[in-house]
């Protein structure tokens, strides 16, 4: 009997049948996953794709027994013929962390901050591999070498806070591979990382898969990644599988409209060039920002040059894309231009020198220069209504407006960002990430600015939502002749929006020029590396 079962299902290491996941909430049960079937064969890479809320993560959380307290899973998740959903805690713990392992989206917080890397890597080895602490430490060092962490012996003794995001994700991968698992579930493992780091981590996973033969379930919303690494793709929407097939077939001829929409979600198009005769809105010469870092009571502070000798000019209606990895100084540059940080060098706004202008001097022109932040969840006050948030700037800049007039302005601004004006009496928590970013944009538009600094406004959003925000920003720019400083590490978005680009590395501009020439013929090796990391999956397909 067993033999017969082996011949039909023998190739499947993980077989999900009719899985249903529901969460009981105050508004009744919410079904996150609706009876899906999904299987993973030995050694293959399956990408599970969908927007946030499609149930792709919850499917895997249910399989691993990691649902939140109010979640329930029914159906079957078969690992080598055993249903993980009905296993007792002991039997389940013998599978997870040993036979099926997982890496997560948040490399910064997925490791325990209070224990060394060595201790955390050893735990599953001692627990499942039956090693002694000493053997486990030796194996942990081998694992760190396997995932190619620099200075593995030092990193072994380090605490997570001493490692970068990419290094922490490498530690997680090392932990995942510690017990030679059959399945590795990777839940958006590169979303929180820079493009170059992202490419390195993807290469590492692909390489390790080849060497160890582990099957990989890759959960992502980024189709560029899928094309690069997956054998097979499962597309999920609203808790159901809408389409599945080999990566090649699916990319060549997507059957479902939803899949086509996902594929189409790469930001596209280019910006119409702006005439050289338009007036200059922002100019900067030899701009520098340094931070003093006090390291000890008696030691002299070290000076960190976050922005070093940067000059730029942006004309009316233009978009300047500022590109670089985290820590390259691109956000600091944006803040210095807005006079939110003391700086050296000179900055002009509409022909006026505003270098290190004081608060009072800036107030008159503040409304002309606005800022949109990366985090749509943290940047809106949870205790104010959308209407209050959108019109708060008017209280400062047009204090004579009556309540009624302010309300009308709020409606107009919300209308402009394609939100129903009736939402102005609701609170931010009722909105999705994309809608919140629209609210944040409405908040700046209500002041009718000349210059908007957009600091990674699309990085926290799904691809499809990103595309909508990019379109919105382009429309607003055309209509109002806005000037944008667009700060991003996402080159696809920058390419769709920017006229000119500066590429920053360690506070310095390594390359600058028109978008087309920087993208098509990057001169600097660092720019080439960035391009290769970000665009390779799209180009190769």
């Amino acid at each position: 009997m067993k033999q017969a079962a082996m011949t039909t299902d023998g190739d499947n290491v993980l077989d999900i049948r009719g899985l249903d996941v529901a969460f009981s909430t105050n508004d009744g049960d919410v079904r996150a996953v609706r009876g899906i079937d999904l299987h993973v064969r030995k050694g293959e890479t399956v990408a599970v794709v969908g927007e946030s809320g499609s149930g792709k993560s919850q499917t895997m959380m249910a399989a691993m027994g990691l649902l939140a307290d109010n979640g329930r899973a029914t159906g079957e998740v078969l690992y080598r013929g055993r249903n993980l959903l009905t296993l007792g805690p002991k039997a389940l713990n013998a599978v997870r962390g040993a036979r099926i392992t997982m890496i997560f989206q948040e490399p910064m917080t997925s490791l325990d901050p209070l224990y060394t890397v060595e201790r955390q890597l050893s735990e599953p080895l001692v627990e499942h591999g039956g090693l002694t602490r000493k053997q486990a430490s030796a194996r942990a060092l081998d694992l760190l070498k396997l995932v190619r962490i620099p200075d593995p012996a030092d990193k072994l003794r380090a605490y997570p806070y001493e490692l970068s995001g990419g290094q922490r994700q490498r530690v997680m991968i090392a932990m995942a591979l510690a017990n030679d698992p059959d399945v590795l579930i990777a839940d958006e493992p590169t979303t929180a990382l820079d493009v170059t780091t992202q490419a390195q981590i993807l290469d590492l996973i692909a390489d390790l898969q080849e060497r160890t033969g582990v099957a990989v379930v890759f959960i992502t919303h980024d189709l560029g990644i899928v094309r690069r690494i997956a054998d097979r793709v499962v597309v999920m929407k609203d808790g159901e599988v809408v389409e599945t097939g080999s990566t090649e077939a699916l990319f060549a001829a997507p059957r479902e409209a939803y899949t086509r929409m996902l594929l189409d979600a790469e930001p596209s198009g280019h910006k119409d060039p702006v005439s050289e005769s338009r007036p200059i809105v922002v100019g900067a010469q030899k701009l520098g920002v340094s931070f003093r870092i006090q390291q000890g009571f008696l030691k002299a502070p070290t000076v960190l040059r976050a922005v070093d000798d940067v000059s730029l000019t942006v004309r009316e209606g233009q978009t300047l894309g500022i590109v670089g990895e985290s820590g390259s100084g691109k956000s600091t540059l944006g803040r210095a231009l807005l006079q939110l940080l003391p700086h050296s060098g000179r900055v002009q706004f509409e022909g006026r020198d505003i270098s290190n202008a004081d608060k009072a001097g800036m107030r008159a022109i503040r409304r002309q220069m606005q800022l949109v932040f990366q985090d749509p969840f943290g940047s809106l006050s949870p205790r104010m209504t959308v209407g209050q948030i959108v019109t708060e700037g008017l209280l400062v800049h047009e204090p004579t407006l009556s309540r009624r007039e302010r309300d009308l302005r709020a409606c107009a601004a919300l209308d402009e960002v394609s939100l129903d004006p009736s939402v102005r009496n609701r609170y931010p928590h009722e909105f999705s990430g994309g809608q919140r970013q629209r609210i944040a944009i409405a908040r700046t538009m209500v002041l009718k600015p000349r210059l908007v600094v957009l600091d990674e406004p699309t990085s926290a959003l799904d691809r499809t939502i990103q595309k909508q925000i990019v379109d919105l920003l382009r429309d607003l720019q055309r209509e109002h002749g806005l000037t944008y400083l667009f700060i991003s590490h996402d080159l696809a978005v920058v390419r769709a929006l920017a006229d000119t680009i500066v590429v920053m590395k360690a506070g310095r501009v390594v390359e600058a020029g028109p978008a087309a020439s920087v993208f098509d013929a990057p001169a600097d090796p660092y720019t080439r590396e960035l391009m290769a990391a970000a665009l390779a999956p799209v180009m190769s397909g």
Binding site: D69, N93, G97, Y115, E123, Y161
Partner: protein, 307 residues
């Protein structure tokens, strides 16, 4: 580490000096004096007493005299307990208060942490509601209600334990005072632990620990509790200082010869030297326990750097 401790203890000296100075002049501002009794003493007697205790000198001279004695480790004689020096009163009372306080502290930390964990792991279920309800009750019911109640039930009705007294320090006499003193602390520690544990259990690194099939003990105690215990540690410092220096209510109701009573009695009697002694003892306890909390914090959380 050693340098840090030395530095902290050295900065404690000016702190103590300020506390001593402040307390010295504050208690003198209060009207009356140690020898103003209901039936006034004869003028001659009063004069003699004032001369013996140097109360006839100008205030600044008394202050310098007190500081000089203090520097030699002499807390002076008690003005009211005539035959005892302040040091003698503390030598006999402090060990008693320390025993009761330490017992209550240990009981509160153990019981509070366990209840807090149990409650957090059953969040929003009947057991959780029960524990939280009891904890709220524990905080709201004052000690002067619990103490006589416990004494009545276990001492008088059931007769299991002595209803009061010290009995030369026999353990049976310590149970009720320790429990009384611990109850409100158990409630506070339970609530602190519960809140911190709930947050810790939701954190990403706990999800990692569970995803890697670690034993429940490892997940809950080794990973979650270690970060959840931090708020408890910061609470335990000042709480320990307060518990170990004795409780007026508990010592009075159970008739225990600790130092807790001195604080109130000395202040009411204008027993200047005893008030100063109590202030100094409590200040030292607070300084030492805050230092211990900071050291413990750095031991638990490697991200905390002392300096």
């Amino acid at each position: 580490m050693f340098g840090y401790v030395t530095r902290r203890l050295l900065t404690a000296i000016p702190t103590l000096f300020l506390i001593v100075t402040g307390a010295f002049f504050l208690i003198r501002v209060a009207p009356g004096g140690p020898f103003n009794l209901e039936r006034p003493l004869e003028a001659k007697v009063m004069e003699n007493l004032n001369r013996i205790y140097h109360l006839d000198k100008p205030l600044w001279e008394q202050y310098l005299y007190y500081l000089g004695n203090l520097a030699r480790g002499d807390f002076g004689p008690s003005f009211v307990y005539r035959d005892f020096s302040v040091a003698e009163l503390f030598a006999s009372g402090l060990p008693v208060s320390l025993q009761i306080g330490a017992g209550a502290l240990v009981l509160a930390l153990i019981a509070g942490t366990l209840l807090g964990i149990a409650s957090a792991l059953r969040q929003n279920r009947p057991a959780d509601y029960g524990i939280v309800g009891l904890a709220t009750l524990g905080i709201t019911i004052p000690t002067f209600v619990i103490a006589p109640l416990l004494s009545l039930v276990f001492g008088v009705w059931l007769g299991w334990l002595p209803a009061g007294g010290w009995g030369g320090g026999a353990w049976s006499y310590k149970v009720l005072p320790i429990v009384t003193l611990a109850l409100p602390q158990i409630a506070v520690v339970t609530r602190l632990t519960r809140g911190a544990m709930i947050e810790a259990m939701r954190s990403h690194h706990i999800r990692t620990a569970r995803a890697y099939g670690l034993k429940p003990w490892t997940v809950i105690v080794v990973h979650a509790l270690r970060s959840a215990i931090l708020p408890v540690v910061s609470y335990a410092g000042p709480a320990a200082a307060a518990l170990l220096t004795g409780s007026v209510v508990v010592e009075t109701i159970f008739g225990i010869p600790g130092v807790g009573r001195y604080f109130v009695q000395a202040a009411l009697n204008r027993d200047y030297t005893l008030v100063m002694g109590t202030v100094i003892v409590i200040a030292i306890f607070i300084i030492v326990f805050n230092l211990m909390v900071d050291l413990l914090y750095a031991v638990i959380d490697p991200r905390v750097r002392l300096g």
